[in-house]
Point group: C2
Chain length 410, copies 2
């Protein structure tokens, strides 16, 4: 009906917007004085003081105790400012990943530090959505004392599924779901009333890997998660780019084969499945693992190197193709297969140069070192991000919560 960018700013909204900006600045820069904040926000010093007073009253911000390591950069003159910081345990957010083989949960605080994690084996395909949601919710809440629950300010879910931005799952082939409103199910299963967001696991991973990172704050980052499947996500200026149907960055389904024969997509060429399939043919071990493969590659065992070389080539082609379309300046590799990249950096670079025209820029490629809870962490970060935005529930109280179902474009 009306564009989000079109809504006007009322009086309350100014303060809200500025409080949010202050919180974001504190999150991004860690510690700031009121005066520094005022400069960053192009705000008067006194206004900055008022905003901080309000945030302090809410328990979100406090004056840091004197242990600042005294930046050695430049000797500052004049009265030193009182450093301010977010109060980490003022509130917290939960993220869960409902995977195919496990459920992971993460609790993060206002400083996006991981407070605790849980992982539990899980047989996704054999379990109904409702049961999966129940398991996920109880696992996430099990280590949270009841007294702390009310400080929860958001619950994020990530799962390998195509879903729209409202959390309506169109299709989750690996879990056998179809047309279920995951976000609503989680909302109903929760014993608290907090914002709930659901997102594709690769997208969530991408958010988690970039959220708060100052490098990712501007520019285009392509995130690749390589496990059995190959998923991906795109972060533009620090925000997830979902595309029209949440499928943006689903790079695993790119067609890469330029070999004769059946058409093969990137997932079939660089996924764990394929690597291990090839490796098993040549390995002398009974039950070769991916770790064995990495060692063999490192030892330059020809059979393993050959597999890795194929992988490097397919990866390079896939990345070049993707960059022709989104022109990323940063590529981040994640998932267990990413461990192969450091051994093949030069070969991947060579294939990239061989594949694309020389006038095109080459993006930087890095490996993400998050643990196994990356996707759940990203889901939690989504709610942190939401909290530090004008959509925050912090401001939902006064607005009359006008019900407008189906307002968005279908």
């Amino acid at each position: 009906m009306n564009d989000p960018a079109l809504t006007a700013s009322s009086h309350r909204r100014i303060r809200q917007s500025n409080e949010v900006a202050a919180l974001r600045a504190l999150h991004q820069f860690g510690r700031l004085s009121r005066a520094e904040l005022a400069r960053k926000l192009r705000l008067n010093r006194s206004s900055s003081g008022h905003i901080i007073a309000s945030l302090t009253a809410d328990g979100l911000v406090r004056e840091a105790i004197e242990d600042s390591p005294e930046q050695p950069g430049y000797a500052r003159v004049g009265r030193p400012g009182i450093m301010l910081e977010l109060v980490p345990d003022a509130i917290f957010f939960l993220g869960v990943e409902i995977g195919v083989e496990h459920i992971s949960t993460v609790e993060i605080d206002l400083g996006t530090n991981i407070v605790s994690t849980n992982v539990e084996p899980f047989d996704g395909p054999s379990i109904s959505v409702e049961a999966a949601v129940d398991r996920a919710v109880s696992l996430a809440l099990q280590s949270i004392p009841a007294s702390k629950l009310e400080r929860c300010e958001g619950f994020g879910v990530s799962t390998p599924a195509q879903m729209d931005k409202h959390g309506l799952v169109r299709l989750a082939p690996l879990l056998g779901w179809r047309n279920v409103h995951l976000a609503d199910l989680v909302r109903d299963a929760l014993p608290l009333r907090v914002p709930v967001l659901a997102e594709n696991d690769a997208n969530a991973f991408a958010i988690g890997a970039t959220y708060g990172r100052s490098e990712a704050h501007s520019g285009v980052t392509l995130f690749l998660v390589m496990e059995s499947g190959v998923g991906g996500g795109i972060i533009i200026d620090g925000n997830l780019f979902r595309g029209a149907n949440g499928l943006a960055g689903e790079i695993g389904h790119l067609i890469v084969s330029d070999t004769p024969g059946p058409r093969r997509n990137l997932e079939q060429l660089i996924g764990l499945e394929t690597i291990m399939g090839e490796y098993r043919k040549t390995s002398t071990l009974d039950h070769p693992t991916f770790g064995n493969f990495l060692v063999d590659v490192q030892d330059r065992l020809p059979s393993a190197v050959s597999i890795a070389e194929q992988w490097a080539r397919a990866l390079a082609i896939g990345l070049v193709q993707a960059c022709r379309i989104i022109d990323a300046d940063r590529i981040v590799l994640g998932g267990s297969v990413a461990a192969l990249y450091p051994l093949m950096t030069a070969r991947v670079a060579a294939h990239i140069h061989a594949t694309q025209e020389s006038s095109f820029p080459v993006p930087s490629i890095t490996v993400n070192d998050e643990g196994t809870v990356g996707s759940a962490f990203g889901a939690a970060c989504m709610l942190h991000q939401r909290y530090l935005s004008l959509d925050s529930q912090r401001f939902a109280d006064d607005t009359a919560e006008l019900e407008e179902p189906g307002e968005d474009e279908g």
Copy 2:
């Protein structure tokens, strides 16, 4: 230094933001009463009145004379509102396209109506940047009376080049340019001090084809310009997505060949050059034109149909590849080759379905019917868009214009 999204809203900014929102709403919806505007902007009716008064005083908005065609939809009750509209000739914007073979210029008014156009033959490769800029500027200004000049509020340039968002051309292979600051050159060549923006021609075309269109106001549109070369642009929620280096959407360099032999990119498969090359081999005419080819395809001449079929297949593969990455919900085809699409709609759709997995959504495909000045028009639209934003020069007067060179990420 500080993120754009991080700057706070001061007092002036609120009004500015609301004036901008009002102008945008009027541009988007054409005519609105004060009360309608207030509802759209979620603003109080009286505030809406104040904002309109201010805009009217500036000569940008006026009360429409009584000729509204009286929407027959629903009989409205109560006092009818006074319709407001933008004053089209309050200000104007100029756009020029410095092409390889011609220079085109467009003048648009505040309502983004085309007021006048000029086209002039031009031999790009043989002419220096400075001379090209001079020619472009004088052609754009030649039909503008001096008295009107001061109402110019922006000048846009489009040209086939890789350039950053500041208008610094990295490389323009077709024109032989390298590392020239096109926007600065144009700024210096202009006898007026107005905002100047430069953009890649395909990107500009994409803006022009979607700007103001309500369909494009949300969602992801992939725009394809098919001439001798094949360029492209991506519009996300009504805004151009440039990527890290302005190369986003440069789909012509996608690798599509899955045939054995040399690797071929999309441009080499669906560009005018290729089609005509193949067509010349089979045509009985002395100097076959693309028009002849279209007729032959329409007449189902086997040789022509075969060429078109190859084209349809390559196009389908390219589009599917692109959608795997950006998940577009709308594809717009432009350039002279786009005329082939209506004859091949079914074949393209068939190839799309054959190429991608059935679970993926199929974007809608349409043909853009802009004239030859599309790219220059888009360049002008960029400045219209800028004028209707908080970056508008309208607001630059009071702010102290603090010079901060090199502030952006390098």
